[in-house]
């Protein structure tokens, strides 16, 4: 079944030069393995394809149930050079949360994943 990342995780993003960082945090520790499994480098690179110009880096923080992504070339030059509304990458966090994950129904039940809201297809990843 389709599970929206925004229903199982929260996130915050910031900038360092022309790089945006997005830290994604599981809303429950039991859901962190889903992030580890689904938020792969390939998946995130594909999600932001066309939106960023550089490579993506990925770092796990199991102690915080979090994964930190660095999106290089994301900020139109960054800082004062950038002409973007989001020159400091403040809302790349919620752009990341538009991802939709494919989770087997029995696993979703076992993990008590939220099913209250209708999943919407935000991501245009070809894998979905």
């Amino acid at each position: 079944m389709k599970v929206r990342l925004v229903d199982i995780a929260h996130a915050r993003s910031g900038d360092k030069g022309d790089t945006a960082n997005v830290g994604v945090i599981a809303l429950r520790p039991a859901w962190y393995p889903l992030l580890q499994r689904h938020l792969t480098l390939d998946r995130v690179r594909e999600h932001f394809r066309g939106e960023i110009e550089g490579p993506v880096e990925r770092y796990e923080l199991p102690n915080l149930n979090a994964i930190n992504f660095l999106l290089h070339g994301a900020l139109d030059g960054g800082g004062t050079l950038s002409l973007k509304t989001d020159a400091q990458g403040k809302v790349f966090s919620t752009a990341m949360l538009r991802l939709v994950l494919d989770i087997p129904a029995d696993e979703a039940r076992k993990l008590e994943l939220p099913t209250g809201r209708q999943p919407r297809t935000y991501s245009r990843s070809p894998k979905e």
Partner: protein, 462 residues
Amino acid sequence: MSSRARDGSDGRVVRVASGQGFWGDWLEAPRRQVEGGPIDYLMLDYLAEVTMSILQKQKERDPAMGYARDFIGAVESVLAAVAERGVRIVANAGGVNPRSCAAAVRAMAQKHGVSDRVRIGVVTGDDLLPRLDALITGGHGLANMETGEPLSAVRDRVLSANAYIGSTPIVEALARGANIVITGRSTDTALTMAPLRHEFGWGPTDWNRLAAGIVAGHIIECGAQCSGGNCLVDWQTIPDLANVGYPIVEGRADGTFAIVKHPNTGGRISVASVSEQLVYEMGDPRSYITPDVIADFTSIHLEQAGPDRVRVFGITGTPPTDKLKVSIAYRAGFKAVGTLVYAWPDALAKAQLADRVLRERLDHLGLRFEHILSEFVGASATHGRLAGEPHDPPEVQFRIGVRGDDRAAVERFTREIAPLVLNGPPSVTGFAGGRPKVEEIVAYWPALIDKSQVQTEVEVLA
């Protein structure tokens, strides 16, 4: 008399309160932090990446300027607590002119008749601008950390150059009795770590505790951003943001600490709110590099220890590198951004037509820019194609920016926005702000320098 709290079982607690997360943060916060309950230190962070260059420009116009002037008002708003209760202030408000900042604080304290109870510590030595050419000819290329380009490429456009300095000179100022410590470009995190290091006597190689102090600093350096501000988790239920409580570190000698806020304030301190702040502006979490220590953010443990109380423990650190980061600002051309708002029906299509028309006119005028960026606010400005197709929005803001070295071209661009109101697509409004302003771009150039090249100095004004 000291306001220091005591805890019978676990030893002494030192409270470091955050009262400013950036220059421009809530003016009420410092006063609320000293009035809301006991604190030992008030930490005020004023410097972002490009703040130093703004201050340098101010200093060029007036040699007595070049510091965060808000700081004088902030100290004035808490002066009684400093003079009577022993609250001490640590701030990087000095910018490119810490001595002038200190003189202004002193003059203000004199005006209030308490200058005998204010001892100002001034930390200098971070400013590399006067030595820049000597450093370059001495083989310190100050290459851009992101692009590898040597600084000589932009040398003639450099406005300011400051090394990020660590906790040691702040600790020295505190040890020499300063109750207001003013630095230039010290790291944000050192402002919190230094008081803890001073109070608990942590040594310069006490890596785990120094790292804990850095993590504490990272959590509170953005003010309320760890205590309910800009917090995505359950944001609808975060109470009383109008009255938001700024964070306080309750530090202990063993390097463990708690993040709390004063009673009867709004906001929320939870594992989730602190986690969000921990990942903010993070790079490689195993290697959070500071001048004092490299902190390992994968070692941090968080525990909800009560309402609005998160305990932080288990932090480890390793020795730092032999380099300091240098923040260099240089002139990088000009930019301007203009906006117009298009209303239903077909708001987005109208805004898109305006974009095509405007770009065609810029072409006909022969204006050349390094970069032009168009955004459609309300449709795709922040999430791009990830936002999908908009569903018939009531309005869309067309936002277009240009950037280039030719000031006249950027200036000419600003004259092309308003005419669209009468000679472009229909249903347009929202131009009351007038013609866009041309801004000079001051860009950021991060570099590294050998630690041995930077000597800090501490003065304590009696």
